[in-house]
Amino acid sequence: MKKYIDDFIVTDNRRLNGEYVILTLELDRDLPEILPGQFAEVKVDNAPNTFLRRPISIHDVVEEKRQIKLLVQEIGEGTRVMGSLQKGDKLNLVYPLGNSFSDPATKEVLLVGGGCGVAPLLYLGRKLKEKGITPRFLLGARNSEGLIALDEYKKVGEVNVTTEDGSMGTKGFVIHHPLMRTDSPVYDHVYTCGPEAMMKVVAKYSEKHGIKCEVSLENRMACGIGACLCCVTDTKDGHVCTCTDGPVFDSTYLKW
């Protein structure tokens, strides 16, 4: 897929809580095709210690408005500066990067997200819905405060939640939700993104039940386009780039 480098204009910064914002970015012409699971390398200006671009998933795309949405968790200087962007600010993106989630074989799917890993699942859910598939989300967080933008997910599919403190949904981790405790799961394809420990248990459960599981990795990146070989992950074929061969991988392909 052709990659672009473009200046976007921030048209909205919606603060979800002390840690998360959703940025809406607009281009002055039609967007190229963007696939669910792809990401952008964001240049963060006015952040003196942020030297490299920051990889951020495509959270959502509104084609008719030429808009891209990014869900940003503020964890360091780069993401904090992104979180403080105002309407009218400019943001330079190299995009769309990486492969994408694949189509499911049947209509029964489960999308499991934790932390800022929920980000790519919204756009994936929307694309699945366009294909006549109702996505079943399973979103986990430490507490109800950490479950973000649930309204958006509810517009697209069925939403199930877990919290570690039990303040909303099932108490515990995603793996403790009834959807993942059963020995006869009702879905044939699992998509997951979030903390590695979470993805590993989700993958293990899926593999045990013979379900295809796609995981989206968040390795440290420098170029994002396959030029530096900094972002590798170990697979059955040895080291491959997370930024070009991933970020989405079949869980059974990874050595982790």
Binding site: L52, G224, G226, A227, C230, D234, H239
Partner: protein
């Protein structure tokens, strides 16, 4: 030119601009056989720079000749191959095979990679070992040999001088500076290899100083690199004595940086009434 290990095989940047505008592309480090490189994590951002410990991951020279060369040979720019190895024989073997490739006008001999356990930088940090590699490669390679020097030495001019004596056609410097980073909270190193190579603007003053020293010690052309982000940076390298420059890490931040630097250098020459960029070489005024 774009620096080895930062511009892939050129293909990665084709979507962004017409890469024939570049003076040359130095492709990834190529070794005698397939190398997996170092384990993840291989990269850490540091103030105004980055550390990498890729460790020369590549599929080996035979794969390059068979699979990659046919794809890139017709790019309308100078495609140079960065040749690396762990033994003199390995360098020789790679150079001999690259010598057969009609559309590759030269090699950059990497005797300065800090990220491999054996060989690599070791060859570039002492005169006798640098001499042994260049001497062997010169016998099997008859086109342009650019030798890439390591900054991890006390006297870079001495090594440059020795390299020139063995028949190198040019030298390029600097490769990355050996460095490391630790996460204070977890007390762990940020790289799987603990140490790695520092690049980006953080190394520029060191690189500039070394280019200046080397240009006074040798007659062959000096290619300057290390932290170039703008046309002004590139011009500083020329003024210090470089005949050409390479851009590395900056490509990650702005894939279009090289063409911007070329344009900026032309503008500078126009502004200063200088006929050609090459007239800048060694033009620093000291009195």
């Amino acid at each position: 030119m774009t620096a080895s290990g930062t511009f892939g095989y050129g293909e990665e940047y084709e979507d962004f601009f017409d890469i024939s505008q570049l003076g040359g592309i130095i492709v990834k480090g190529t070794t005698g056989s397939h190398r997996e490189g170092n384990p993840y994590p291989r990269m850490a951002e540091t103030p105004h720079g980055m550390l990498n410990a890729v460790g020369l991951q590549n599929k080996g020279v035979d794969y390059f000749v068979k699979e990659i060369y046919p794809r890139i040979k017709d790019y309308n720019t100078n495609m140079l191959v960065n040749v690396s190895g762990s033994t003199v024989e390995e360098y020789e073997d790679v150079a001999r095979k690259i010598n057969e490739l009609e559309k590759i006008p030269g090699i950059e001999l990497n005797i300065s990679c800090p990220n491999v356990k054996e060989g690599g930088m070791a060859f570039g940090t002492s005169c006798p070992s640098a001499v042994s590699v260049i001497n062997a490669v010169r016998k099997v390679y008859d086109k342009h040999i650019m030798v890439k020097l390591s900054p991890n030495v006390t006297n870079v001019a001495e090594i440059a001088h020795a390299v020139e004596g063995e028949g190198a056609d040019s030298v390029s410097l600097i490769n990355t500076l050996l460095g490391m980073a630790i996460d204070a909270e977890s007390r762990r190193p940020l790289l799987s290899t603990v140490t790695g190579g520092l690049s980006g603007p953080a190394v520029k003053p060191v690189a500039l100083r070394m280019v200046w020293q080397v240009s006074q010690a040798v007659k062959i052309p000096v290619v300057g690199l290390g932290g170039i982000m703008t046309a002004a940076d590139a011009i500083e390298f020329m003024l210090a004595g470089a005949s050409a420059v390479q851009i590395g890490t900056a490509n990650f931040i702005d894939p279009l940086v090289s063409v911007k630097v070329i344009k900026g250098m032309e503008d500078y020459c126009e502004r200063h009434d200088i006929g050609a960029v090459r007239e800048l070489t060694g033009g620093m005024i000291t009195e």
